[in-house]
Amino acid sequence: MRMPEPDRDVLARRTQIARDLARIVPGEGVIVDEDERRAYESDGLTAYRQIPLVVVLPSTTQQVSQVLRYCHENNLKVVPRGAGTSLSGGALPLADGVLLGLGKFNRILEIDFDNRCIVAQPGVTNLGLTQAVQHAGFYYAPDPSSQIACTIGGNVAENSGGVHCLKYGLTTNNLLGLEMVLMTGEVIRLGGKHLDAEGYDLLGLMTGSEGLLGVVTEVTVRILKRPETARALLLGFPTNEKAGDCVAAVIAAGIIPGGMEMMDRPAIHAAEAFVHAGYPLDVEALLIVELDGPQVEVDHLIARVEAIADSHGAVFKRVSQSEEERLAFWAGRKAAFPAVGRISPDYYCMDGTIPRHQLPLVLKRMGELSEQYGLRVANVFHAGDGNLHPLILYDANEPGELEKAEAFGADILKLCVAVGGVLTGEHGVGVEKRDLMPEMFDETDLAQQQRVKCAFDAEGLLNPGKMFPQLHRCAELGRLHVHRGQIPFPDLPRF
C-alpha cells in the first residue's frame, strides 16, 4: 500500500511546527518525542504502521479550530484520530502529517431524557454513552464489537454498525447533530435535538466520511429505552444453504430480529474450543437469532422462528430459558475473533456485504480460494443484513504470508462486488480497501466523490491517502468540458 510521498520540506520543519502547535495547545498537548509518537503509529489495522510528524491533543473546539487553521495556512496534512480502533487504517498517520488526537474530548455534555438524546464530546466511548443513561433504562443502540474502546467521534467517521443494526440502524440513523471544524478552521453546527436538518443533509454526508471532510468536536445522538426482555435461539444446520434459506424465510415472514448472526464450521469450532458456549460441532452453519421487546412479543416470535427453523431443516435447536443462557449463546459469537486468534498466529478480518441469497456461492468460492492460497478462513456473518466477516488465518512471521492474506482478502472483496455486494459494510475503506474502489466505482463515480471532498477541503489536506485510489487536484476535477453547437437532441420528444 503506497501512501503519498512525504514532503521533505515539512519533515525538516518538524521542530518549528511542534513549537507553533504548542502555542495553540499548551502544556502536554503536543508530542514530539519519537517513542511517544510511536504509540500512534497504527490503528486496529496493525499491518500498516507509520510514525506521525507530530501529535497534537487539543481539548477545546477553539484549539481544534486554531490547529486546523494553522495547518491550512502552512499547507500541512492532518490525520484525525479517536481511539484508533479502525479496522481499515482510517487513522493511519502520515510521516509528514500532524496527527490530531481527540482523546481529551471525553465528556458527556448533556443528558436530555425528555428529548431522548445525549450531547457528548467525540472522544466518549460508544459504551460510555450507554453507561451514562442506563441507570434510567436507556441505551445508545449502535453497538460495534469494539464498543468498550471505540469513540462516538470515530463511529460518526465510519458510520459504525453492530449486531443490532438491522432493527435499530447504524450510526447515521441515530445521529441528530454535530459540531465540526472544517480544514480552514471554520466551526459549523449541523442538526440539533430536532430531526432532519435544513439545506443539504451534511449530517448524513459527514457520517461515514472517514475523517476526510471535517473534524467532529461534538455529537448529539438519540437514545432509546431498553426493550423489556430479549431471548435468543441457537439453530444448527447441515448446510450453509439451509441456514441462509432459514434467514430469508424469517425476514419474508415479516420478522426483523434484534440480532441474527451466522457462523460457519471453522468459526463454530474455534469459538466452542475457546469459550465452551455449548455450540453443536456436527453442523455446517450456526444461527443465533435474538428477539427483543415485551415478553409476550418475544415469546410469540420465538415460537414462529422455531417453526420456520423446523421447516427449513434445522438439526439443532435451543431456545434460551434464562438471561445467562442467552448471554452464553452470544459468548461464542462475541469471542469469535479472539477464538480464531488462538488457532492462528494472526488473522485478517474482512468486511464485505453481499445480497444474502449469494451466500452459498460466496462461501463455496471462498473455500476454493482458501485452497488456492493455502490459508484457512473462518466466517462470521451478520446474516440479517448480508454483512460478511471472513477471518483469514495467517502467520505474519512467515515471509510472504501477510501479502498472501491481503491478496486473498482482496479476492474475497472482488467476489462480493461481483455478486452484487459492496467492499465494506461497516469497517470503512481507509487505506485497506482504497485501491479496490475501482472494483465498485468507475472514474466518473470517483471523480464526483472527490469533488464533494473538494467542497470541504480544497487543498486535500485532511486525511489524504485514504478512500481514493488516486488523488486529483480540485481544479482539475472541476474542469468542465463543454461541447457547444450540438443539435439539441432531436431524439427527445418534446411537447
Partner: protein
C-alpha cells in the same frame, strides 16, 4: 412557455443535461410535478420530465431491497410492496391534495428528492434513512452512481443522504434503490381526550420514553380534531392526543393496555382505535388532510423542533394571531396553517419562535410570489450556506439543475 423534454432513459437524461450545459439554459427537474408547490418556484425555460423513467427493476423481499426508475409512481411501488406485506417504513406523505392536486400522483424520485417522511419518522427514520443507492446524472451531464443494493454499506461517501432533500438541485436521479421493511401485522392507536398542549406533549414524551416502540405520537387541538375523517376523533369534541402502536398481534394488545395504564395519570378519557380507523387517522395526518382543503388558512408551515419544546414554541407563536396547528413526532413536528394577509407569510414570527430552542421552519404552502420573496427553507449561518454553495458547484457548476429551488442561489 416552458418546453418539456421527456427523456426515455438515463442516457437521454445525460444528453439533455449536457445540452442544457452547452446552451447555459436551466432545467426544471420533474417527476409528475405533484410537489411543485414545495420549495421555491423554479424559473426555467425547459422542464426535464422524468416520468418515462418508470418501472421497478428489482424487488427482492427477502433481501429487503427494491430498485426502480426515479419516475416510478409511488403508488405502484406501494402496491407491489403491499402484495408481499412490506412497506416503505418512512411512511411517505402524499402532498398532492395539499396543493390542490389529485392524490396518488407522486413519484419515488420526488419523495426522495424532498426527503419526505410521515408520522413513523420518529421510529423508522425519514426517506434518507432508507435510501441505499442511486444512478443519476450530475449537472455536468455525467452519469454516475453511488451507494449499492445491500442494506449495509459504507463504501465511499454516503451521497444518498446528500441527494435526499436536495430538491433536484445537485443531480437528476434516474434510478434509486431503497430498503424496504415488513409491514406491521397489526396497528392500534391509543387516544387521550381533552389534554392541553403542554400536558399532551408531556404525555407523548412519556410514551416515547417507554419501551413500547411507539410509531406515531400526535396531538390535535380541538378545531383540528373536529375535521378528522375518523369518527371517534372528530366526535370527541375536545383535543385528541394519539399514540400509535404497531407489531405482532399479541404484542400490540399488550403494549396498548400498558400505555393506557401509564398515560392514565395525565387525566382525560382514553380510547383505542383499531386497524382501519387507526390506519385512516395516521394517513390523514401524514397527508395533512386537516389543511388540504382549508381555504381560510392557505399558508402552511412545517416546524421541526426539539420535541419536548413543541408546546412552548406554539405558545411563542401568539403574535401571529389566529392560526390552526397540530403536533406530530411527539411534539417535534408542528404543522401550522395561517390565514393569508401578512406579506412575509408570518416568516418573522415563525422563525423568531424557534430562536431559543433551535430547529427549522419550512414554508410548505404559499403563493409562488410569496415563496420567491420569503426564504422557504430556514436560512443558514454563512459558513454552512457557503459549504452548501460549494457542494452545489461540485455537482452542478453551471447552475443548470432546478436553480433557485432551495434558495436564491441554490
Amino acid at each position: 412557455m416552458q418546453t418539456v423534454l421527456k427523456p426515455a432513459d438515463a442516457a437521454q437524461v445525460a444528453e439533455a443535461v449536457a445540452w442544457a450545459v452547452s446552451e447555459e439554459t436551466p432545467l426544471e427537474v420533474l417527476g409528475t410535478g405533484s410537489k411543485r408547490g414545495l420549495g421555491r418556484p423554479v424559473q426555467a425555460g425547459h422542464a426535464l420530465d422524468l416520468s418515462a423513467l418508470s418501472g421497478i427493476v428489482l424487488y427482492e423481499p427477502e433481501e429487503l431491497v427494491l430498485s426502480a426508475g426515479a419516475g416510478t409512481p409511488l403508488a405502484e411501488i406501494e402496491a407491489v410492496l403491499a402484495a408481499r406485506r412490506q412497506q416503505l417504513a418512512f411512511e411517505p406523505p402524499d402532498l398532492g391534495p395539499l396543493y390542490g392536486r389529485p392524490a396518488g400522483a407522486g413519484t419515488i424520485g420526488g419523495v426522495l428528492a424532498c426527503n419526505l417522511a410521515g408520522p413513523r419518522r420518529i421510529k423508522a427514520g425519514a426517506a434518507r434513512d432508507h435510501f441505499l443507492g442511486f444512478k443519476a446524472v450530475n449537472g455536468r451531464g455525467e452519469a454516475f452512481k453511488a451507494g449499492g443494493r445491500v442494506v449495509k454499506n459504507v463504501t465511499g461517501y454516503d451521497l444518498c443522504k446528500l441527494m435526499a432533500g436536495s430538491y433536484g438541485t445537485l443531480s437528476v436521479l434516474t434510478e434509486v434503490t431503497l430498503k424496504v421493511l415488513p409491514a406491521p401485522e397489526k396497528t392500534r392507536t391509543v387516544l387521550l381526550l381533552g389534554l392541553a398542549d403542554d400536558e399532551a406533549v408531556h404525555a407523548m414524551t412519556r410514551a416515547l420514553q417507554s419501551s413500547h416502540e411507539v410509531s406515531g405520537a400526535a396531538h390535535l387541538p380541538a378545531p383540528v380534531a373536529a375535521v378528522s375523517p375518523v369518527g371517534p376523533v372528530s366526535r370527541a369534541g375536545a383535543a385528541v392526543t394519539a399514540v400509535r402502536i404497531e407489531g405482532p398481534g399479541p404484542s400490540v394488545e399488550f403494549r396498548c393496555a400498558a400505555l393506557r395504564r401509564e398515560l392514565a395519570a395525565f387525566g382525560g378519557a382514553t380510547e383505542e382505535l383499531h386497524s382501519r380507523s387507526s390506519v385512516e387517522l395516521w394517513r390523514s395526518l401524514r397527508d395533512l388532510t386537516p389543511f388540504a382543503g382549508d381555504d381560510r388558512h392557505p399558508i402552511v408551515w412545517r416546524l421541526s423542533v426539539p420535541p419536548a419544546a413543541g408546546a412552548r414554541i406554539v405558545a411563542a407563536l401568539a403574535p401571529l394571531g389566529e392560526f390552526r396547528y397540530f403536533y406530530d413526532w411527539g411534539g417535534g413536528l408542528i404543522w401550522l396553517a395561517l390565514p393569508s394577509g401578512s406579506a412575509d407569510a408570518g416568516a418573522r414570527e415563525v422563525r423568531a419562535a424557534l430562536a431559543a430552542t433551535g430547529g427549522h421552519a419550512t414554508l410548505v404552502r404559499a403563493p409562488d410570489e410569496t415563496r420567491l420573496a420569503v426564504p422557504v427553507f430556514q436560512p443558514q449561518p454563512e459558513p454552512v450556506a457557503a459549504l452548501g454553495r460549494r457542494l452545489k458547484e461540485s455537482f452542478d457548476p453551471r447552475g443548470i439543475l432546478n436553480p433557485g429551488r432551495m434558495s436564491a442561489n441554490l
